[in-house]
Symmetry: D4
Subunit: 148 residues, 8 copies
């Protein structure tokens, strides 16, 4: 089986690269998916493609709907969803993805620092594993796929 893993959440550090590289080094057949991680492109895609909006609300609305075509399609196809929460920003989209993934019966792995534990308790309670480092996520993926 070729495992498909969706990496949701925080886009300002290189945690995705760390996981992808760690898994690659382990020689596992995993395809990684993620949202568009170019912040500007993601915010502006609605205006860029479909024309400019006057109100920020509708600019955001158009962009987010286009982004949802990608994110929902990929989560729907994923075998596992990893969601990373960072210290900065509110990241409600990450928590939204987690809720969506759980309702779609996707095993969820959360990744965050221990000082976010209380704030994320409902999300973690729905997760199959709670990791603190990308290495731990790699460890879980390796174990789940290769058994070691």
């Amino acid at each position: 089986m070729n495992w498909k893993i969706y990496l949701s959440g925080e886009i300002h550090t290189d945690w995705r690269e760390q996981i992808e590289q760690g898994v690659k080094q382990a020689g596992l057949a995993v395809r990684f998916y993620s949202p568009v991680t170019d912040h500007q492109a993601s915010d502006d895609c609605g205006d860029n493609i479909l024309g400019q909006e006057d109100k920020p609300f509708w600019k955001d609305h158009k962009a987010s709907k286009i982004n949802s075509i990608r994110t929902r399609s990929l989560i729907d196809k994923a075998d596992v969803v990893v969601v990373r929460f960072g210290e900065k920003y509110r990241q409600w989209n990450a928590a939204f993805d987690a809720g969506y993934a759980v309702a779609m019966r996707k095993p969820l792995i959360t990744l965050h620092d221990p000082d976010l534990t209380h704030a994320l308790k409902e999300v973690d309670a729905a997760a199959s594993a709670v990791a603190q480092t990308p290495e731990q996520v790699v460890g879980i993926i390796k174990y789940v796929i290769a058994g070691t």
Copy 2:
């Protein structure tokens, strides 16, 4: 039809009461559901019922899982889910509920101040309506049920 509406999210203001009262005054047959809104009871229910944990992580874990019995059962039965985001706290559970509700095909109404618009754009994009005040939510419920 007796409409069932789940009120998720922020628990520090009286927005739930305002909505319930507004709908009651309109004479509509609506049953409202919500999570346990007593903060302390919600945090401690795991330890209180099943025994104390040493580590905060497992205390939170036990409590959140028990709370999820209530929240998921009620969201699963709801016709409409309203999620309120406030200024304070991270409220990832509210965004999680929103994602869960959308995946379960529940119409979503979000309720928040306009200055959270950009941070909540992915959640709002999945919503059937974005309100700024409890009165607007009452207005939507009245219109949806009674047509006026």
Copy 3:
């Protein structure tokens, strides 16, 4: 069993009343649902409740999303969906409802004049019955529920 029937589509003639009255005279336990049939209220509900939009597109968008809370909730709960197509207007929402209902496994009854047969052939092909008059719809409902 208390049958629930959703009456979708054309809102400018009294076909809903004719069906409801015919079924009532037959003494059958049927609850009828429909969209908001007040054209103006339906068009303006977004602006009325949530504030005015400058662009007609977003005015329509907000209103239609609010209306969808009602229409989808009621179609989801219906046992049978009747969709009426008239001569005037494009009525794409009626055909949309028909497609939505069929995908949700709802038995579909269409109601339209015979000169719309060719234009509605894909919708009729998905229907359990194609009626030309409200009396025929009443006849179907009576037969389906009471067997005569």
Copy 4:
């Protein structure tokens, strides 16, 4: 991932070719599906294959049911459904496809001129994006798949 996109609706202009060509030039791995777009073949397939009918209703019925084997199978397999509405004809089948696709959880992109906005408001409200030109649809597909 090899994206699968279903192109539903209007069959009298070359919008499908424009989209397919634009996506091909972008070097993206997309497989496009569509209904049978030969109008005559589509109308006559029932009579041609299964024998002639006297009544136009049953001729249409047989043909539409055969066509539905193709359209539903392909929509069920699609990742994204694009529906084009033109100025001419009633195109209830296009709106039916849109409703069916939405109920099957398929992201919907509508494509139509701005003067159809009001008539299509319920369909657009269920769409993830509303485009006015095939170029815009290409832009959305490129962004969703390649992130740029």
Copy 5:
């Protein structure tokens, strides 16, 4: 719980009455559903309500589709489906109902003479119980509901 049981199949003997009476005497809360069991009414409902067809195929087609509104709605709502096969006629609709019920996750009870065992082996293999007499079906219903 108020159990709902659908009685499908053979319509020429009084097996339905026997089951309903036996269950009634046991004082159990069961609501029984069945197709229209008036053979003539069932065959002619399409022509009677929607107008006469020239070809027997389309007469049957129209009637069967109307009947399916009733049968599928009631099977979908049933907790248990009982299908009776008699000696006469081909009764493909009974076997069709059985296959439909099983796919919809309904517990199936078949009722037929032992000399039909080999012919019905695939249907019986999908059943939760295979009875030979209405008394046995009553026995099963009593045991399942009351535990004795």
Copy 6:
């Protein structure tokens, strides 16, 4: 797309070969599935593999359950299900497969002589096409896949 078509029903004539050959000659990418069509092997598989039963009922039961592993798996994976009814035998398994397939949302094509029309009216009413010859089935498959 590589179409998958399941051929259910009658096993005493070469209708499967005719369809497979006709489709092959048309150069279409179709994979055909069918039940085990060796009558004896199918009847005896339970006893042969798991040991002999004394009672014919349990012999049939064991065999049919093993056969159902194949038939349900393949119907679940099929894009289209063709069910052939012949003159001989009761073929309740064919009608059962048809009901199962319809409930699993599979487009159904029935294949039978016109003198079975009345007996098969409920099954035909659930079908997307009713054919009388293997050539017609080939015609439908060709049209559905290739559009001509």
Copy 7:
């Protein structure tokens, strides 16, 4: 909301009565369901109702299938499933019910002594709460329903 709770598993102690009584004393609107807990009746229901079998395997088979009509129907309708594991017997049916319930999205509460923790780790990992005493289960039910 009237909560429905299914009590599965061990049938040799009065844990069900303790839970039902505790919940009753708390004045909560809960309907409790359970399998037939009369061991002999449960083992013999197949033979008693449908006639005696020679082989113990088929006697058990017939009985278990009849019992499954009750257990699956009630689990399917339950809001919460409680599964009790005792010290004696293998109780594979209890673990089977737990797996079935989880796959059907039912919140699961397990009830067992701490010395079964390691043996039940996979079942407990799928549970929303792990209790050691009926009082704790009552505590959870009270908290989930009444919030205190």
Copy 8:
């Protein structure tokens, strides 16, 4: 079709190898999946990857949740699930897998000695076949795939 078969349950004998080898010798295209069968690795994966727990309960909990990512993903993808019950240990996870698989509509084959028949009667009643030896399972797989 490439069949996917999940082998659940007992991990102390070489029954998996026997089945895989028997199927390989028959030249069939089957991919076999199983849980991590290294007992120690399976028990310790939580502590090994995510850090040590003080309480055995949470150690087991973390490990079992990680293991469930693998087991549920693979069962969800399997066409057939084989569950082996041995003489030793309680093997509640095997019965849990069986219940989960049945609820997910997977054909189930059980494999166990005849003296476990009574204890496993509910699990066997939900199975499509009950085998006593790995050779019999190979026989079923061969028959189901190759028809001989």
